[in-house]
């Protein structure tokens, strides 16, 4: 291990972050999740709108390693399902057939897809052969695979969260920077507005704004508007942080030197002030990100956010709104746990960065 004195600040911070096991593990897991959802077309056995009419509202199917005759096998399988008529009601029901197995194949062929229009393929990471089907998280009312849809939805939710966080970041840094740098009346006015915005119960407000979005807008337009709405939820804390840091640093010698050296305000801010509190900003960003993901889920869940055919984690849970649905088909809730996981991971990472950014911990 090299001595601490030989390392740059960034390397020191990275080393401190690495030594925090929980934070580092969270980061690895998040990267893995992002990777899988980025290639959702490949990792998901089905496409989001593909319908399996033989297995609608079907329960999650578990993976087994036991053969039909009870022996163990190394290859994963699922218990086969058969559709038959209920002798009393004559309705079609699908039941497990313990005497048969569908083997899971890797790099199996399925519905063809195109990955962001770059390349087309019909190879999925896993799947079962002809005649069989595999629904790890069950299916919805139309027989669409919830596992596959969750992967796609995860990507949408993260992407809209990321876009909103970037927007919130730009807004926060600009407004906070102006307030902190100019001070005086401008600062006072901006701070009053921010305090006002922070004292408003956010969810009802943004619900109202979202409700005002015209119904006939396209999915893309709604996506953009949602990004803006979500960014409005997150930018205030960032702006406050930037402002307070700038005010604290205003009289620092290195800032004064940079100013006397003839640098313009934007450059002083970008080159001489911003790097000093990047660590804190990252913490705020992860927290803002998790708030935004939660808000998106809530809005879409209520039917006021993103809408079909776009799938986000909130959209997936929309049918779980009625209590009857939860009792009969509790697997509709599975996508919700991905929201919990993402927020947990982001919180752990944020805590790790906070510690790593603190110079006294080296």
């Amino acid at each position: 291990m090299t001595a601490a004195a030989d390392l740059s600040r960034r390397q020191l911070a990275w080393r401190a972050f690495r030594s925090n096991r929980l934070a580092f593990l969270s980061l690895c897991l998040l990267v893995l999740l992002v990777f899988v959802s980025l290639f959702a077309e490949f990792f998901a056995p089905y496409t989001p709108q593909e319908r399996n009419r033989a297995y609608t509202d079907g329960a999650p199917m578990g993976i087994t390693f036991t053969n039909a005759d009870g022996g163990l096998s190394l290859a994963p399988m699922v218990i086969a399902r058969v559709t038959e008529r209920d002798p009393d009601t004559l309705r079609r029901v699908t039941v497990a057939d313990p005497g048969a197995r569908w083997p899971i194949a890797f790099f199996a062929r399925g519905e063809s897809y195109s990955w962001f229009g770059l390349f087309e393929s019909d190879i999925h990471f896993f799947g079962v052969g002809d005649g069989g089907y595999l629904h790890l998280f069950g299916t919805d009312r139309l027989g669409r695979d919830i596992f596959s849809r969750t992967l796609y939805a995860f990507r949408t939710s993260l992407s809209i969260g990321l876009a909103s966080v970037v927007a919130a970041f730009v807004l926060g840094i600009t407004v906070g920077g102006i307030a902190g740098y100019l001070g005086g009346i401008v600062d006072a006015a901006i701070m009053r507005v921010i305090e006002f915005l922070q004292s408003i119960p956010t969810l009802p407000l943004w619900l109202t704004v979202a409700a005002a979005v015209p119904r006939e807008w396209t999915a893309l337009q709604i996506y953009l508007v949602m990004t803006l709405i979500l960014a409005m939820i997150g930018w205030t804390t960032l702006a406050r942080r930037v402002r307070s840091r700038i005010i604290a640093m205003h009289s620092d010698e290195h800032v004064l030197a940079a100013r006397l050296g003839g640098n313009r305000p934007v450059r002083v801010f970008r080159k001489h002030m911003l790097p000093a509190f990047t660590g804190y900003l990252i913490v705020d960003l992860t927290l803002a990100f998790s708030t935004i993901v939660l808000a998106e889920t809530a809005l879409s869940f209520l039917g006021l956010g993103l809408r079909e055919p776009v799938v986000s984690l909130g959209v997936l849970m929309l049918p779980a709104q009625s209590i009857a649905a939860i009792i009969l088909t509790p697997w509709y809730l599975i996508p919700g746990f991905f929201v919990v996981i993402v927020v947990l991971l982001l919180n752990f990472i944020g805590d790790g960065v906070r510690d790593a950014a603190d110079p006294s911990s080296y």
């Binding site: 006002f196 408003i200 009802p204 409700a211 889920t297 209590i323 939860i326 927020v343 919180n347």
Partner: protein, 331 residues
């Protein structure tokens, strides 16, 4: 004291006016106005509507006046107690809300009580017994409490209540009590239905309070005055509750307004998911139907609650923190 109260009241009024302005702006936000809605509904019934008629409606309801005039008019009628008419429910807004507001208030208040009754003692206990079982489990649960969306928690609890306790979750009465006169059984039934909404609404807030209380308490516990007090030979819990707790609780009290904001923010969604007869479902329905008269008033009520909460927290702080009291009185 009176001067302090007066200043706070004036500030609250100014904030409320600002709120009402935002709300009115939102009410006006959807494209089209009442005249368009009216024309569309007439057209849907098969009537022919001439542009002149639409213009007449607009004239009659004053919809073509400038924004500020309409705002003043709206505020004036609100202050006179005329909350407007809800198209969605075909009733005056006041009637829609009268039956639902008490439940929203009861649930929000109960959630706040839970947040402080559980959050503060648990925070103190975790700080005193740092790195022990309770501390770790409180931290762990706290992370989950903050990470789980309210509605997901509500759905899970509904599922578990149904599976394990056979509770008919949702609504506030079991089917057998619907339409029955009040009795102890019915009252008890109602309470058991309110447990889930209150728990759900309080979860995130409790988690946050435990975190704050634990952090400030840990700061205080390591200070010399605590050691000095302990050295006098008093029992440790007596010392802890008497000295550091009083200091550590100040940030908790001063954020009471925020906490209320969070509770109010979460209230609609819990009401919707659990289909409670409170303001939540009405709010959602009015938003989806773009019935902005109703939505606006509900939003305004939510904001009024927040302003009142902030006022109360200011007064509590004044009473609790001698530094603020002195600061105000010496002026």
């Amino acid at each position: 004291m009176l001067a302090f109260l007066g200043r706070r009241l004036i500030a609250a009024m100014i904030v409320m006016v600002a709120f009402s302005f935002v709300v009115f702006f939102l009410v006006q936000l959807p494209p089209g106005d009442f005249a368009d809605v009216w024309a569309a509904s007439r057209a849907a019934q098969g009537d022919t509507v001439t542009p002149d008629e639409v213009e007449n409606i607009r004239e009659a309801f004053g919809l073509n006046r400038p924004f500020v005039v309409q705002y003043a008019d709206w505020m004036f009628s609100l202050l006179q107690g005329d909350l407007g008419f809800s198209f969605e429910f075909q009733k005056p807004v006041a009637h829609v809300l009268a039956e639902r507001l008490p439940l929203t208030l009861a649930i929000s208040f109960a959630a706040l009580v839970i947040i402080y009754l559980v959050g503060v003692p648990l925070g103190i206990y975790s700080a005193v017994r740092q790195h022990k079982m309770v501390d770790y489990s409180a931290t762990f649960i706290g992370y989950f409490g903050l990470a789980t969306p309210n509605f997901l928690l509500a759905l899970i609890l509904v599922y578990l209540a149904q599976r394990w306790f056979g509770l008919s979750a949702g609504g506030i009465f079991s089917p057998e009590y619907l339409g029955q006169p009040w009795s102890w059984g019915k009252f008890w039934d109602m309470l058991s239905h309110l447990v889930i909404p209150v728990l759900v609404l309080g979860s995130a807030g409790t988690a946050a309070q435990v975190r704050t209380m634990r952090a400030t308490m840990l700061d205080e516990l390591s200070k010399p005055y605590v050691r000095a007090a302990l050295a006098t030979g008093k029992s440790p819990w007596q010392v802890i509750l008497k000295y550091p707790t009083r200091v550590a609780i100040i940030p908790i009290v001063s954020t009471l307004g925020w906490e209320l904001t969070l509770v109010i923010s979460g209230a609609p969604i819990v009401g919707i998911v659990l289909s409670l007869p409170d303001m939540g479902p009405v709010f959602l329905q009015s938003l989806i139907g773009q019935d902005m008269a109703l939505a606006g008033v509900i939003l305004l009520i939510y904001y009024l609650l927040v302003v009142i909460g902030t006022l109360i927290s200011d007064l509590l702080l004044f009473w609790l923190d001698p530094r603020i009291r002195m600061g105000v009185e010496s002026k």
